[in-house]
């Protein structure tokens, strides 16, 4: 079957489609946005979206869907954009993804749907993420979320953690007629979406809208509950009458490098730095009470090469930093951050110190950071991760003057739930053991997914786990079989 099947609503032939250039995402000019917290990407107009949608080859076997952790029917939603049925497109996405306005902004599409797009063999891939974002925002503007009317099953599910995976489970299960309550340790719903990802990449208003929609669907939320401390998993199951529990508590404790000077004032974990900014709004001090160090005119570096590192350093720039460095011990090719974020960061003037690692933080003698002593690296043989191992170059030490350093080298498992839930199996790194297929843990009725199972990953992978968990929780609740 030819890519342009007879049913297609697309007026262009496959050859014509390839000639249409990928529509650029309108964005704030780099110079302006580097000093504000407004969103970088401004979103497609309807015209741009329809123009971009025309490029879809409508493959008979769409690899984009296969490479989407939640299996969005890309071909179908894009076709609906072609004919101008934007709400229909949104509804199609919602069948697989309860948070399209969020994934449309933060998914690493180049590694997933767009990475396998047939167009990319010849030209640039279809802008699937941009299109997803467009229809989700369109739906929000129209205010026409469809609240499904389903019969209650009488089953109750407790969800621990209100990040992307917990929200996905909640959204999926409420639509299957179950009663759902989400417990959140912090005072705001959203997990990493509110404390981790900055406003300029994911406006908090977008997150609030998605959560409001969940509330409309009947999902209940309870903040200020640290499961494991405030209430245990066993109490939820035995005393509060929940039929199943889903644990989606996220990545957990920030790792430090264990080098001298890490306790100096001015050295932050990325989690703390971003939490002060995003959750506590410390950048609005003194309107908000939570303080942070004044970054105006200061030199700031982040250590690490992931999305969290870039979120932190781009935030520092927006808070007035004079110089903003990324210190990464490997090279560009190994950087785990999304390509678009690296590109944006370079445009904004972030100074990338690649193949470089700090070995010590230096002090003024009064407890404050003054510099990072760094060493240059070269790449040696591949290590356990398959990436070439960075090896220090003898005699390459130099001091980078800094007043703030942010450590973004990853996280380890938060033990609170595991240590208070007897019989809940963990792996040797302390993450919860869960079946990859069903997200079932070693405890009957208890499921887990997202970073607390896999270690730090992406929003969409956590959502994929949430989707699998929701299906398997539904099966468990309807059959009673474990």
């Amino acid at each position: 079957m030819s890519p342009a099947a007879s049913k297609s609503k697309n007026p262009l032939s496959p050859k014509e489609r390839i000639k249409v250039p990928r529509q650029l995402m309108p964005e704030q000019p780099a110079e302006a946005r580097a000093r504000n917290f407004e969103e970088v990407n401004l979103g497609y107009s309807a015209e741009l979206a329809q123009q971009e949608a025309l490029r879809c080859l409508e493959c008979a076997k769409p690899t984009c869907t296969d490479n989407c952790p939640v299996g969005i029917d890309v071909k179908e939603f894009v076709q609906r954009i072609v004919i101008g049925d934007f709400l229909g497109a949104a509804a199609k996405i919602r069948e697989a993804n309860v948070l399209p306005a969020i994934t449309g902004r933060v998914c690493p599409q180049e590694d997933q749907c767009e990475g396998k797009c047939l167009l990319s063999k010849k030209v640039k891939p279809l802008g699937i993420g941009y299109l997803e974002r467009f229809v989700a925002d369109y739906e929000q503007r129209m205010g026409t979320h469809i609240v499904p009317n389903v019969e209650s099953t009488g089953k109750k599910i407790a969800i621990v953690g209100s990040g992307p995976s917990g929200l996905t489970v909640a959204g999926d299960l409420i639509q299957k007629g179950h009663s759902v309550r989400v417990f959140e340790a912090l005072h705001e719903i959203g997990g990493v979406l509110v404390y981790g990802i900055p406003e300029f990449r994911l406006p908090k208003q977008i997150v609030r809208e998605q959560i409001d929609y969940m509330r409309q669907m009947g999902v209940e939320f309870e903040t200020d509950v640290v499961v494991g401390r405030t209430v245990t998993i066993d109490e939820l199951l035995e005393e509060e009458g929940y039929d199943a529990v889903y644990i989606g508590t996220g990545a957990g404790l920030p790792q430090f490098m264990n080098i001298p000077g890490e306790h100096l004032n001015g050295v932050y974990s990325a989690n703390e730095f971003l939490t002060r900014i995003n959750l506590m709004k410390a950048y609005k001090f003194p309107v908000y009470d939570e303080p942070m160090l004044d970054l105006h005119g200061q030199d700031v570096a982040v250590i690490g090469g992931g999305n969290t590192a870039l979120d932190a350093i781009r935030s520092a720039l927006r808070l007035g930093a004079r110089k903003a460095y990324v210190i990464y011990r490997r090279s560009d090719a190994e950087m785990p951050a999304r390509a678009e974020e690296v590109h944006h960061a370079r445009q904004e003037g972030i100074d990338f110190q690649m193949l470089t690692a700090p070995v010590e933080f230096l002090t003024d003698g009064k407890g404050w950071l003054t510099a990072a002593r760094c060493v240059r690296m070269e790449l040696g043989e591949p290590d356990a991760s398959g990436r070439r191992r960075p090896v220090p170059i003898q005699g390459s030490e130099f001091d980078l003057l800094l007043s703030v350093a942010v450590i973004a080298i990853g996280t380890t498992a938060n033990p609170i739930v595991q240590s208070t839930t007897p019989g809940l199996g963990t792996n040797k790194r302390g993450y919860i053991q869960a079946s990859e297929e069903t997200q079932r843990t070693t405890r009957k009725g208890v499921f887990a997914g997202g970073d607390i199972v896999t270690g730090a990953a992406t929003v969409i992978l956590a959502m994929g786990a949430g989707r699998r968990a929701a299906n398997s929780i539904h099966t468990y609740l309807t059959t009673g079989e474990w």
Binding site: A185, L186, H187, Y195, T223, D224, V225, V226, R229, T230, V231, G250, G252, L253, P254, F256, N258, E262, H263, N265, Y268, S269, N271, E272, T275, R276, L279, M280, K281, F285, P286, V287, Y288, D289, E290, P291, M292, L293, K366, G367, N414, P415, I416
Partner: protein, 297 residues
């Protein structure tokens, strides 16, 4: 929202709040704390749990005015509410029969030492308590501490009540009198805890201290509360707040607690200015309730 069912000053600047928090009341154990946020623009601060009543679903917290948030909190009255209270956080005190335990409470730290002293007493320890304060007015929980102690020793810095001197003077006397001490628990200002540890280290008496670094989430997520224990970073919110006092690097704790001093002073001065301004306009009540809503800016 968490309702304040009773609020009462225990001493000038030190207030006890009984708060409706049924989940926390059911789970609270000695040594644990809560994190609270008063209003939408407020910061999150850790606060001692002095006691709880699982039947009534209430917890007691004791707060000393120091910066803006604690000063604002202490303007709240019975019937007011606190926006967020989360807990109980931290590992509970390790309660078992050690033999003879000396519990040292300094200032408002006495409120955190009290439930631990009570629990240690309940499991059969001989509990000698030492409570220290700057002056007579600031001695808190005397009656409560006396009720759970085999002996209660009190010191004031200025001698305005009981014996003049520091808690370490009393502890030194106990040691010099040859009392066998199996454990010392010290909760109070950092200088006090450090002085206690300096003393007990020489005598090789195991000493537990409760640390109070700057915190945000209280669940281990941010790492802001990291303290140096035996040269290694640990998180006070999940690994503590109690640690072996002989392994604690107190200098780093003091240094890190001073990280936001400039901003804290700025907040406090602004808070005082507004309180004064509104008081002069004769709207004292409005000032505090306005402050609560964050409207003072």
């Amino acid at each position: 929202m968490f309702k304040i069912v009773h609020a009462q000053f225990l001493a000038p600047g030190i207030k006890r709040f009984v708060i409706e928090a049924p989940r926390i009341a059911r789970k609270q154990q000695p040594g644990q704390f809560v994190i609270l946020r008063i209003y939408e623009e407020g910061e999150r601060i850790p606060v001692t749990i002095e006691n709880s009543d699982p039947e009534k679903g209430t917890i007691n917290i004791v707060v000393q005015s120091a910066g803006k948030t604690t000063s604002l909190l202490n303007t709240l009255e019975t019937g007011d509410s606190i926006l967020d209270v989360v807990g109980p956080l931290g590992k509970p005190s390790e309660i078992r029969d050690y033999g003879t335990v000396v519990v040292v409470g300094g200032g408002v730290g006495t409120a955190m030492a009290y439930p631990t002293a009570a629990a240690l007493k309940r499991v059969g320890n001989r509990v000698i308590s030492i409570v220290g304060a700057r002056n007579k007015d600031l001695v808190i929980l005397e009656k409560e501490m006396r009720a759970v102690s085999d002996a209660l020793l009190i010191t004031t810095d200025d001698g305005s009540y009981a014996d003049k001197g520091f808690v370490t003077d009393k502890l030194r006397q106990l040691i010099e009198n040859g009392m066998p001490i199996d454990l010392v628990v010290a909760v109070g200002p950092i200088v006090m805890m450090k002085a206690v540890c300096d003393l007990t280290r020489k005598e090789n008496i195991h000493t537990v201290v409760s640390l109070n670094p700057i915190m945000i989430d209280g669940t281990g997520m941010c790492g802001g509360c990291r303290v140096l224990i035996d040269g290694k970073s640990e998180f006070a919110c999940v690994d503590g707040p109690e640690f072996d006092g002989h392994k604690v690097n107190f200098e780093v704790l003091v240094q890190r607690n001073a990280m936001y001093r400039t901003a804290e002073q700025q907040s406090m001065e602004e808070f005082k200015r507004l309180q004064k301004a509104e008081a002069e306009e004769g709207e004292v009540c409005a000032a505090t309730s306005g402050a609560r809503r964050g409207a003072q800016r």
